[in-house]
């Protein structure tokens, strides 16, 4: 099997699985969870097969044309970075699907929707990481946001879930659009959307400002997705999602897309002066802020969310300080976070399931009841705190080492980074201790005892696997080198990675680590002395208030603008439309006057030609009743005027050599007058219509009405003079007259146009008639007499509404 076909299968499988799970009825597909699991495993095998076939340093492009006009193609880049992320997405996906099996059992809601959402997300993630075309990357990028929206809002009956879903969608989608701007600008500079081409060739030395702006826009996209300050607030609010979703999307994969983008951009922009401060300052600030907020929170998932925010800052900051020539340990940091944070989120789900609460203050003493979970949690917390024998220790040692070396290179930024990293490590020790001690040790509250029920093995095994990985890789780190080696990417990685060892000797980093751990434990002891409750996050640190404010104001502004331009009164609407027409025509006429008066415009008008006494007489009988209609007050008089005017139009048609029109007009006019007489006259007799004439309105409204009517009338009159005055030598109608016999086999050209030449238009006309008829029927048949009324044989006015029964 060729690589192209294999990759297409890997990409299509989750999408197909999502469709199947969502659409195939339950009785044909009884276990959506197992289907999803099978799909994820098959895709994982596919990615591993592609990776092994591609060799040690794969980098190749698969290209299918899609929309060549705008440079969009289904182009996929297979290299170390995309394979690494694909393995993470699918491997974590398998574990999360196993975990979901236990988590969702016995839960409300449509499980098929849940699994379809997870598979949809998996497919769009794979698309994002493999995309070679930047526009394609943007499309998949936004699809992941959409999947996240659907999954956060899975329990859509809850207001909180809807709010969190909306917030995450708005933040990630809007920042994604900013990223699109950056992509388009990059295309303007480099001339292509093709990532592999951009990576291969150095950026042009011109357009420096342009490139800097482009970098800023792209980085905004990455920050939005990875919840970096000032977009950090959406991630804690997304914790209303079911826990498997939080573990998968909001710690392991989707929020890592920002890191992925930074890794992709590193070879392109890493040498620029702007790179380090632009990424570093927000990233390190976020790292510290997240850690502080995590220590303040009391909700288990909120602690984890803020610590994720902190860790995402750490990862982006790592790329920011990356020494020239490449970074070395980014995969180690990402894997470490994946292991412990995935495990901790799953543990949080188990605890909530078993003890009925996520609040640290209401938990305790769960270790004897949940030994395996407690062990998983302990290892994961140790990794988070960076204690030895875990991957966390390795990750922190290398981070400290690089940051101490970056200290000299980056000046102020370097010292800022050192301070942030040390303080954050300290805080991490403190809240790791808080999680493990408050949840699993101490006294068990009575509420927990009352609620407790044991979780199934489906739930407890996946976090144990993740924690086991963190522990194994921590004890025997030399395994990691050969594992990560094939994923290195030239340009991003320097290729000078040290061999991972469990013991590096009494180095400077080790002393700092030791001090940090001790200080962190002391901080926990001081801040959470005894049973003091957690302070919670103070409102002035919640950036979502600004977001909510903006959100509300935007909606209010939308309402206000609608109120400004839209009215419920039909007169105002008509007035606006006709006044617009009048103003446009007036402006046109004004321009003509300036261009040399009406002379050139009216030069073809024959003012007296074609006048005959008979036609003038008929015209008078059309216009006079129309004026009467305006002036008369009695409804009989008005109806008579309407009829006379309409029938005189019939005569005018005869004079215009249009017998068909005259016939039709005669029929239609008769039926219209009869309908009005019958229906409205009946209402008038029953006293339902108080008057037929105009209702009083203010002098200004009346003046406006007269002015608009007169000016539009004048404009239309001039329009007709000009239009009919223009000589047209070859009217299309001659064609119809010439060919009505030989092509349509009829003598009357008007008829053949209607039923033959333009028959489809007539079909449309008949459809309009049908629609109007159905509308009339709907309006008239709303009332159905009940059996009693039928017995009485009451002769009700047809269509008399239910509400009128009391009145009549």
């Amino acid at each position: 099997m060729s690589l192209g076909l294999g990759l297409a299968l890997v990409l299509l499988l989750p999408a197909a699985g999502a469709l199947a799970v969502a659409l195939v009825p339950r009785r044909w597909l009884p276990f959506p969870g197992f289907i999803a699991l099978g799909v994820a495993m098959a895709s994982l095998c596919g990615v591993l097969a592609i990776g092994s076939k591609a060799g040690a340093h794969p980098s190749f492009v698969l290209d299918w044309s899609w929309v060549p006009e705008c440079g969009l193609s289904l182009s996929f880049l297979v290299d170390g970075l995309s394979l690494f992320f694909a393995v993470i997405v699918l491997g974590m996906g398998v574990l999360v699907l196993v975990y979901s099996r236990g988590y969702m059992a016995g839960r409300e809601g449509d499980h098929r929707r849940f699994y379809a959402g997870l598979l949809f997300f998996m497919g769009s993630m794979l698309g994002t990481v493999f995309s070679n075309n930047l526009l394609l990357l943007f499309i998949f990028w936004e699809l992941t946001g959409l999947a996240s929206f659907l999954l956060i809002g899975f329990e859509h009956t809850s207001e909180e879930a809807r709010r969190g879903a909306r917030m995450s969608l708005l933040v990630t989608a809007v920042t994604g659009l900013v990223m699109l701007l950056g992509i388009v600008m990059l295309k303007q500079v480099t001339g292509t959307y093709d990532l592999a081409t951009i990576l291969r060739s150095p950026l042009p030395q011109t357009h420096k400002d342009w490139l800097d702006a482009c970098l800023v826009l792209l980085v905004v996209g990455a920050f939005g997705k990875s919840a970096i300050f000032p977009f950090h607030f959406w991630l804690p609010n997304a914790m209303t999602a079911p826990t498997p979703v939080s573990a998968y999307l909001h710690s392991a994969t989707m929020v890592k897309l920002g890191i992925f983008l930074c890794a992709r951009l590193f070879p392109i922009f890493g040498e620029r002066e702007l790179w380090a401060p632009l990424l570093g300052v927000p990233a390190f600030s976020t790292m510290l802020l997240g850690a502080v907020l995590a220590l303040m929170s009391s909700d288990l998932k909120a602690i984890l969310a803020y610590s994720t925010v902190s860790q995402l800052g750490y990862l982006i900051g790592y790329y920011a300080l990356g020494p020239n020539g490449g970074v070395d340990y980014d995969y180690l940091h990402i894997l470490n976070h994946l292991f412990y944070k995935g495990s901790l989120f799953m543990v949080a789900g188990i605890v909530e399931h078993a003890a009925g609460s996520r609040d640290i203050g209401k938990l305790g003493g769960l270790a004897p009841r949940l030994p395996l979970t407690a062990a998983s949690c302990a290892i994961a917390c140790a990794a988070m705190a960076g204690l030895p024998l875990t991957t966390g220790f390795l990750s922190k040692e290398f981070m400290l080492k690089e940051i101490f070396s970056a200290f000299s290179v980056h000046g102020y930024l370097g010292s800022f980074a050192v301070v942030c990293v040390v303080l954050t490590s300290l805080l991490k020790v403190a809240f790791s201790a808080k999680i493990i001690l408050r949840v699993f040790f101490g006294k068990e509250p009575e509420t927990v005892t009352a609620h407790f029920h044991a979780p199934s093995a489906w739930m407890t095994l996946p976090p144990a696997v993740l924690s086991g990985c963190a522990l194994l890789a921590g004890i025997a780190p030399s395994f990691l080198n050969p594992l990560l080696q094939p994923f290195t990417v030239p340009g991003l990685h320097a290729g000078t990675a040290e061999h991972f060892q469990i013991w590096h000797g009494w180095t400077r980093e080790l002393w700092v680590s030791l001090a940090v751990v001790l200080a962190g434990l002391a901080l926990y002891r001081v801040s959470h002395y005894g049973d003091r409750p957690c302070p919670g996050v103070p409102s002035y640190l919640k950036a979502e208030r600004l977001f909510e404010w903006l959100h509300e104001k935007t909606i209010a502004a939308g309402r206000a603008s609608v109120r400004l331009f839209q009215t419920d009164r039909e007169q105002s609407a008509v007035l606006a439309v006709t006044a617009f027409a009048g103003v446009t025509l007036g402006a046109f006429a004004w321009k003509q006057v300036f261009a040399g008066g009406f002379g050139p415009l009216l030069q073809f008008v024959d003012f007296t030609g074609g006048m005959s006494p008979l036609r003038l007489l008929v015209g008078v009988f059309i216009v006079l009743p129309a004026l009467g209609l305006v002036l008369f007050r009695s409804w009989g008089g008005q109806l008579a005027c309407l009829g006379i005017s309409g029938f005189m139009v019939t005569v005018y048609f005869v004079l215009g050599r249009a017998p068909d029109l005259a016939l039709t007009q005669l029929l239609v006019e008769t039926v219209s007058i009869v309908a009005i007489y019958l229906l409205l006259g009946r209402c008038a007799k029953q006293g339902l219509l108080e008057q037929w004439s105009d209702l009083p309105s203010s002098a200004m409204a009346q003046g406006l009405r007269v002015a608009v009517s007169c000016s539009v009338a004048a404009a239309v009159g001039v329009l007709i003079l000009v239009v009919t005055g223009m000589p047209h030598h070859n009217p299309v109608g001659n064609f119809f007259i010439r060919h009505t016999e030989d092509m349509a086999h009829g003598k009357n050209a008007v008829n053949t146009i209607l039923v033959d030449f333009r028959g489809l238009d007539t079909l449309g006309e008949i459809t309009v008639l049908l629609a109007a008829m159905l509308g009339c029927l709907g309006l008239l048949m709303r009332y159905r007499r009940n059996s009693e009324e039928q017995k009485q044989g009451r002769d009700l006015t047809p269509g008399l509404g239910l509400g009128e029964e009391g009145k009549s």
Binding site: L661, S672, L721, G725, A772
Partner: protein, 119 residues
Amino acid sequence: MQTDTACIVAALFGCGLYLVLSRNLVRTLFGFLLLSNAVNLLLLATSGDPRGKEAPIVGAGNFPAVDPLPQALILTAIVISFAVTAFLVVLVYRLALDHGTTDSEKLFAARSDGEENTP
């Protein structure tokens, strides 16, 4: 043909528009009828001067005939405006039955009240 048609159409337009802008929906309906007549005459004016011409029926007499295309358009327009008229008549009738008035101000006020009352 031009001047008199222009005058008639302008007058019908003015009267029709004046009626359409009324508060009373029955008057709006009448205005709509006048306006559709006016538009039909406007279209007819584009088929040219009928003097010395015949109806566009082949073999009915001597040529030349008037342009048949505007007539076909008008025929369609008449039928469609009839459909709309019928719908409007029934709509006004329905409003009069249900609310006892065709005053759009009153109807509007009733609707706004209803909106405020509904939770």
